[in-house]
């Protein structure tokens, strides 16, 4: 079951037919994203949020990008 986290993180991302996260640092460790399994969007008030289900090959994470604040967060991990 997914564990809710909601912490801000640093992400390296590329623009390739949309915004795509490539790697991120969380709690001092660097995670290389091997697959973006699914993406979806939602709204929080006036802010558009892009959600990414990503895996480093071992663990599944949910990352979110707030288009208004331009900040990344890790929302959950398996």
């Amino acid at each position: 079951m997914a564990e809710s986290i909601k912490e801000e993180i640093k992400v390296v991302a590329v623009f390739d037919r949309g915004l795509k996260p490539v790697k991120f640092r969380w709690r001092g460790r660097l995670y290389i994203i091997t697959e973006v399994t699914h993406t979806w969007s939602s709204r929080h008030g006036a802010s558009g949020i892009l959600h990414y289900a990503v895996t480093d090959g071992a663990t599944l994470f949910e990352l979110a990008y707030n288009q208004s604040t331009m900040r990344w967060s890790i929302e959950a991990s398996e």
Partner: protein, 406 residues
């Protein structure tokens, strides 16, 4: 053409998490007393059904993986699928979050045949959203829906005029869209078991037994159905705005019930205000633990979308009745809707209340729901922040029926 997404919520979750693919999973809500909203095909094979509670589902399939649903994912996928469908036909009806009808009359030329068009739709959905669907193509919505149900998952069935009589002859009436278990039972008592029999049954007897729908039932038995595809945005105006919630535990506690009523009234009021609707009637729905459900309504002196007026009316209904037992579910809705802002409030106090609500709505629109809310709702109860709610079958991608659920 009818497009039915296969085990939609479960398929989205399996798409998100590769570890769930090929495994029996069931999507459930986050509330304590949740039920299975969708089971994967792997779980269905092992006896898991929609509507089972967690314990029943686990009993049927001990290896079942329960996944708490995330409605934002499903709404996003649904909207993306509808966008894809709109690129094939201008007439797309969003029938529910995971089903749509398309009128493909006049859209076949670039594809050559209905089958080629359907295959292109499937390919685009698979490519764009990563999901499979079953498609039914037929001369009308009734038969198209029947066709899409005939082959799952990832099916494609075409019923044409020439083949429909043979198909319907021995088809049980309960297989038809709109004929549920009770109607099937009633028809059975008349000796009508198959669509063939229904299509030949005297219309006068059906009319006498079932009233206005009698004639329509006979036509359905013949595969005749006149309802058109209603494009998105051209649906009938909503007749009511309502919300309901199953409580985490049955309760007779008045204070707790009142908190839920206030929260539901705020949800109803906020959605009505967003769409400039005001209600002339307030309806309170209560379900007891034995699932006995009833509603009582009250006519308001003036149309309103003011949370406090809705709450006061719902509360007055509650106070006027004696609850025979604890409450399992509460629902609040407004009906007799009127569009527009109506007459300007006469008294200063009323105008200030309107301005207060406008300001609250504005803050919540900018910073998210419940950024500013009623103090009473900040106490315990009245619905946890983490409750995700359930997407209603009446959900639509645009308009007042687009309910935001977490």
């Amino acid at each position: 053409m009818h497009v039915d997404m296969n085990a939609f919520f479960a398929s989205v979750e399996q798409r998100c998490d590769p570890a769930l693919r090929g495994k029996p999973i069931a999507v459930v809500g986050s509330a304590k007393r949740t039920v299975v909203t969708t089971a994967s095909y792997e779980a269905r094979k092992l006896g898991v059904k929609t509507g089972m509670n967690k314990f029943e589902a686990k009993k049927a399939c001990p290896s079942l993986i329960l996944v708490i649903g995330d409605n934002r994912k499903y709404i996003d996928a649904s909207v993306r699928i509808l966008e894809i469908l709109k690129s094939f036909s201008p007439k797309v009806e969003a029938y529910s979050i995971d089903e749509a009808f398309l009128d493909i009359t006049g859209c076949l030329k670039p594809f050559g045949s209905p089958e080629a068009l359907a295959r292109a739709v499937k390919e685009r959905i698979r490519e764009g959203v990563g999901l499979t669907c079953s498609i039914g193509i037929a001369p009308n919505k009734l038969l198209a829906k029947l066709a899409s149900d005939m082959q799952k998952p990832d099916g494609l069935v075409i019923i044409d005029e020439a083949g429909k009589a043979k198909l319907l002859e021995d088809l049980p009436v309960g297989e038809l869209w709109g004929i549920g278990p009770r109607l099937t039972e009633h028809l059975g008592r008349l000796g009508v078991k198959t669509c063939g029999q229904l299509g030949r049954f005297p219309a006068s007897v059906l009319r006498e037994r079932f009233g206005i729908i009698g004639e329509r039932l006979r036509l359905m038995g013949q595969g005749v159905y006149s309802s058109e595809v209603v494009p998105i945005g051209q649906e009938e105006e909503a007749k009511s705005v309502g919300h309901s919630t199953t409580l985490p535990a049955d309760t007779s506690e008045k204070a707790e019930i009142k908190r839920y009523l206030l929260k539901l009234s705020e949800m109803v009021g906020a959605r009505a205000r967003e769409h400039c609707l005001k209600g002339g009637k307030v309806c309170l729905t209560i379900r007891y633990p034995d699932f006995y459900t009833f509603s009582r309504q009250r006519t308001l002196p003036v149309h309103t979308n003011d949370t406090r007026a809705i709450y006061a009316s719902a509360l007055a209904i509650l106070e006027s009745m004696r609850l025979r037992t604890a409450v399992r579910l509460l629902g609040v809705s407004i009906s007799a809707l009127a569009k527009g802002s109506g007459q300007m409030a006469l008294f200063e106090e009323d105008r200030r209340r309107e301005k207060l609500l406008e300001a609250m709505d504005e803050v919540n629109r900018s910073f998210g729901e419940y950024t500013v809310t009623w103090g009473t709702l900040l106490d315990e109860g009245g619905g946890s922040e983490d409750d995700t709610g359930v997407i209603s079958p009446a959900w639509r991608p645009v308009g007042v029926k687009r309910v935001n659920v977490k």
